[in-house]
Amino acid sequence: MREIQERLRRQLSQAMVDAARAEGLSLNVNGIAFDFDSELSVVSAPVAGLETLEANSTLDGRDGLVGQPVMFWYLAGESLDDENVPLSEGFYTVLANQERGTVTLRNSNGNKVAEGRLKACIRPSPPPWPGVAFFSATAHITTLEGNVKHGHGHIKVCGDASVSAFGGSVSIEGCIEVDF
């Protein structure tokens, strides 16, 4: 079972890296996360470079998360098959705009397809030395809801990309919610 899961992680990582590269993005694939159910599936990976964030400047907005790609998502599932759903199966870039507190979901054609809420959290305290890089970046899928009935429905996907070091972490969470 462990072998199957490791193979799954490797193949998902490769597919994500290939798709991201085609869009000029580099990913931190060690941090990949996924959630597959019978209605909706998501794979998420943090965009490389997040580990250079500094906790203090991220918290007060000086780190410039303005239109910056933070996560790369793959969305699929039966919930997206309905013609009324404004999202389709495919790869999406999650861009953060800290000034507005929003995230934008951009498809592989470069079009904005949805907008949602951005949250940046520092836990429990910032690392003590300014300029020290975080060790690693990891993704989590924190909410996955797909409920499509009779051409109407609700889809909500939330994920975070977090970097941590010395007991502290910075987490950037993006939530996309579409009702139709």
């Binding site: 193979r7 060690n30 996924f34 159910d37 899928i141 996955l144």
Partner: protein, 185 residues
């Protein structure tokens, strides 16, 4: 990606789950399999077969129908579970519901309860005024699906939180059985 990777692994994981469950004298509803993971923790969940025959009328009447009833079968693996003081290790577990007390027990393959958690049973009554297409689908028979709603794990302190859900639809009525385990330090 969906066809090439998801379908292949869905089949492989289903097969591994079915074999493990058979050794535990359980049958699974593999169409409802769900799998999720992050760098710390991986979870595979499948609904236990037979849930589609639950007495929905009794549930709607407020009676307890889940008493020491296996509702999901989980495979758990990851860094926190490899830590020695953690109360259980990588492996297959039954999620056993007791509706009256509102708790679930995570039971290992020796039948021992290794953790307890919260149980929610939610009922959505049939929609009124639905069209013929929906009515036909509702009349087609019960459906069972599964999902994993939370997977979090920390290496230090070793701690995990896993939540899963089974959704059973029968004659337009939807019952959702939700279970959450929060274990570790």
């Amino acid at each position: 990606m969906r066809v090439e990777i998801e379908d292949t692994f869905r089949r492989e994981l289903s097969q591994a789950m079915v074999e493990a469950a058979a050794a535990d004298q359980m049958e699974l509803y593999t169409n409802g399999i769900a799998f999720a993971g992050n760098p710390r923790l991986s979870v595979v969940s499948a609904p236990v077969a037979g849930l589609e025959t639950l007495d929905f009328k009794a549930i709607l009447d407020g009676r307890y129908v889940l008493q020491n009833t296996p509702v999901m079968y989980w495979y758990l693996a990851g860094e926190p579970l490899g830590d020695r003081p953690f109360p259980f290790s990588d492996g297959f577990y039954s999620v056993v519901a007791d509706q009256q007390s509102g708790i679930i027990a995570l039971r290992n393959r020796n039948g021992e309860s290794v953790a307890k958690g919260g149980l929610d049973v939610c009922i959505e009554p049939p929609l009124s005024g639905v069209g013929p297409r929906v009515a036909k689908k509702a009349a087609a028979g019960p459906t069972v699906s599964g999902k994993i709603t939370s997977v979090t794990g920390t290496w230090w302190p070793p701690h995990i939180k896993v939540c899963g859900q089974v959704t059973i639809k029968q004659s337009g009525v939807t019952v959702k059985v939700k279970a959450c385990i929060d274990a570790g330090f």
